[in-house]
């Protein structure tokens, strides 16, 4: 039985269809990265999975529980790390954890708190109020809070959005630790690197649907090929290069100030100018090709 099974899920907010016929299976024990641009429906999907949003159509099963009827049972077995920090800032670090240990019906609250403090590396800050913590510490605490009951499934909604690169790396090692312990993880993100570093499988989501799914290397091989050539030049020169490459049937995408010729290994003579920088094709190429949006 997969950890998560969604079939034909639709969620509308008035005129807007946030989730539009979503099918998603997450097998147990993997980390699935739900990769999509802002507004793709990732956060709504997360809220549907906790029963904080009710689907208009489709069927949802989480850890064998039918949603929304058994949402509470499902929540008892999963942990959630929200996109926005919602810790109690006036309350001590340990009390923030203790409250959630109780909400998750943990028998030995003290032991769970100690475990959480250790995981978040905040044992020496246990009596400090959250207000006194740095941004990175708060994020680690938020993650530990969702793990009080040692759940089988973790939902991470944009876990590192708006964080410094250094703090992001810290958090990635924590997620990696969970992954190595066999916890099933569904992580939404719009950071390509995050998906590439952490996810066993990536599902690319846009306009409320999954449009591609697979291991990062599979997705790259299938949608982008082996190699991408990036060309930095004045706009007039870029237009020339683009025309030549497209005449050969190659896909060209914008890449900030440059253009990227995807699948450049298939180009014949002259299509790739000598000043081009050739690099291995990446998940970013796939993302931009499939969603039509520039990556962050």
């Amino acid at each position: 039985m997969p950890a998560i099974e969604l079939k034909g899920v639709v969620k509308r907010f008035g005129e807007i269809t946030a989730v539009d016929g979503l099918d998603l299976d997450v097998p147990r024990g993997i980390c699935l990265g739900l990769l999509g641009p802002n507004g793709a429906g990732k956060s709504t999907t997360m809220r549907l999975l906790t029963g904080q949003a009710i689907a208009d159509e489709g069927s949802l099963r989480v850890l064998g529980h039918e949603l929304p009827a058994e949402a509470k049972e499902a929540r008892a077995e999963m942990g959630v790390v929200p996109q926005l920090d919602n810790l109690d800032v006036d309350v001590s670090v340990q009390d923030n954890l203790a409250v959630f240990a109780r909400l998750y019906r943990v028998k030995d609250v003290r032991a769970a708190v100690d475990r959480g403090l250790e995981l978040a590396r905040l044992s020496d800050r246990r009596t400090d109020s959250v207000e006194q913590l740095s941004g990175g510490m708060r994020r680690r605490l938020l993650l530990a809070r969702g793990l009080m009951h040692e759940p089988d499934l973790m939902l991470l909604d944009e876990p590192t959005v708006g964080l410094d690169p250094q703090i992001r790396t810290q958090l990635w090692s924590l997620v990696d630790l969970l992954r190595s312990q066999g916890v099933t993880i569904l992580m939404s993100t719009h950071y390509i690197e995050e998906a590439q570093r952490l996810a066993d499988e990536v599902a690319v989501m846009t306009h409320g649907k999954i449009i591609a799914r697979g291991r990062p290397d599979e997705l790259i091989a299938k949608h982008a090929g082996r190699e991408t050539a990036e060309v930095y030049a004045p706009p007039a020169r870029l237009a020339e290069v683009r025309a030549v490459a497209e005449a050969q049937g190659l896909t060209v995408r914008p890449a900030g100030p440059a253009i990227a010729i995807v699948g450049s290994e298939r180009a014949s003579d002259g299509a790739i100018p000598p000043e081009a920088i050739r690099r291995a094709a990446s998940l970013e190429d796939v993302f931009v090709l499939l969603t039509g949006e520039e990556a962050e």
Binding site: T50, Q52, I54, K72, L84, D88, D90, S92, L103
Partner: protein, 255 residues
């Protein structure tokens, strides 16, 4: 899982207790000092110069017992309104709690119970203060925290339902001006309502605060048979607002 699980309710209340540790001093300070100020101003000021006896009571006793209702509404409706809105909108606390195995009904019930308990205790302070001003202790007074608790539960429900209904926090001004201030003024705290025009007197019978004021005075000076009806009325008020708070919060919190 069952509805209204005690463990879920206790968990949510434990969060309130943890937060209370950071602000109990200021709340307690104002809860104790406020009745003192009112009693000095109204009881001694008005009582010694203009008003002699009201309904057979010294004015200090009249105001002191009536102040329980004032303390109750200001320690229940207002904290519930602002607290629920801030936790729902600004701090996203409710989102955090609902990601755990807690549903909206349990969340709202726990929030109401916490405010009810707190207000039941703070609401009794004016009575204790009044004793320093000469109110004689009576066994019936032991029931005052219970009456205060029941009424506060209802007003907590009112506050939470209101918080779930307004779009912006400044809309609470309408609610305080149009609902809370009139309820507080025509409760019979500072003057007996039988001095009001007949229409107001009838309306006052539907004011839960007025019923609380009467119950507290009777607790101090002797119960009457109709007091059971008053308690029944308060329970109905509380149950209706509890369901309304759950309904409106569900609508607000679940997409």
């Amino acid at each position: 899982m069952r509805r209204l699980e005690p463990a879920a309710i206790a968990g949510v209340m434990s969060r309130e207790v943890a937060n209370f540790r950071s602000y109990w001093k200021s709340t307690t300070f104002s809860s104790v000092l406020e009745p003192v100020i009112y009693l000095l101003a109204f009881g001694l000021g008005l009582g010694s110069t203009i008003v002699d006896k009201v309904e057979g009571l010294d004015y200090v006793e009249f105001v002191g017992t009536g102040m329980v209702a004032t303390a109750v509404i200001f320690s229940s409706a207002l904290p519930a309104m602002f607290g629920a809105f801030v936790k729902e909108r600004f701090q996203r606390t409710y989102d955090a709690i609902l990601a755990a195995p807690v549903d909206v009904e349990e969340l709202v019930t726990a929030e109401m119970l916490w405010i009810g308990l707190r207000s039941g205790i703070y609401g009794s302070f004016p009575l204790i203060v009044s004793m320093l001003f000469g109110l004689d202790p009576a066994p019936g007074m032991l029931l005052v925290p219970l009456f205060a608790f029941i009424t506060a539960l209802g007003f907590a429900g009112f506050g939470i339902a209101t918080a779930a209904s307004v779009a912006k926090i400044d809309q609470f001004s309408y609610v305080t001006t149009l609902v809370i201030t009139p309820l507080f003024l025509v409760a019979g705290t500072f003057f007996p309502i039988d001095q009001l025009p007949e229409g107001f007197q009838v309306a006052a019978q539907f004011n839960p605060l007025h019923q609380l004021v009467v119950l507290v005075r009777h607790a101090c000076f002797g119960f009457e048979a109709t007091d059971l009806l008053r308690v029944g009325g308060l329970i109905v008020f509380t149950v209706v607002l509890w369901r309304e708070a759950v309904r409106r919060m569900s609508k607000r919190l679940i997409d």
